[in-house]
Amino acid sequence: MIRVQREDFDLGAELRALSDGDHGIGGVASFVGLVRDMAAGENIGAMTLEHYPGMTEKMLGRIEAEALERWPLNASLIIHRYGRLEPGDQIVLVATASPHREAALESCHFLIDWLKTKAPFWKLEDTPDGGQWVDARDSDDEAAARWRKQADGS
């Protein structure tokens, strides 16, 4: 399931709902991204997440479909927020449920890595010098590329 929303989410309730009633699930893996008050050495107060409505949902849906194809998952969930966020706020939740531990852990890792390079979101950080658009990191491309290599079997 995909959700793109301005509102916060209840992590415990979301994770519970993911496995609720399905006793074939052996493990639930999750990752929650939070707003840090220190990015690349600069103190930031808050940030605003801009996104591309329509394409965002399309890309997240495709990323999720890819995970469901690669791993035996009983359920998956991606929630990504947009709008203004304060330090400590939840930005994103990725969660996967599977009969098997490895499938849950790997697919969760895959989802957040791919989302970081494919989902059209942009962070505008409040800094002492004003709003700064965050630069994409090469390390994110490398993290996503790792999964591409695995898919090629190389």
Binding site: G33, L49, E50, H51, Y52, G54, M55, K58, H80, I91, V92, I112, L115, K116, T117, K118, A119, P120, F121, W122, K123, L124, W133, V134, D135, A136, R137
Partner: protein, 83 residues
């Protein structure tokens, strides 16, 4: 053709959304960018570094050589930084 600008593409051009009618010789993403750059210094500056740009045509990532046509929604933005 509908154009969308995000993040610093929006800030630099001062445009978030517009409808344009490029001339017939604009057949690819690369052609479109070349045409857009001629619209003034703000566009020339924003689109100067093609490597720093990402383009989506009808909400799909596109290459420079991909075609664009009159009914398309074309979005210009920097590499994504969500998550």
């Amino acid at each position: 053709m509908k154009l969308l600008y995000f993040a610093w593409l929006k800030t630099k051009t001062g445009v978030s959304e517009e409808t344009v009618s490029p001339p017939a010789e604009v057949e690819t993403v690369a052609d479109l960018l070349t045409w857009l750059k001629q619209r003034g210094p703000a566009f020339e500056d924003a689109l100067a570094d093609v490597e720093a740009l990402r383009v989506a045509v009808n909400q799909e990532y596109a290459e420079m050589t991909d075609p664009v046509t009159a009914g398309d929604e074309v979005a210009l933005f920097p590499p994504v930084t969500g998550g």
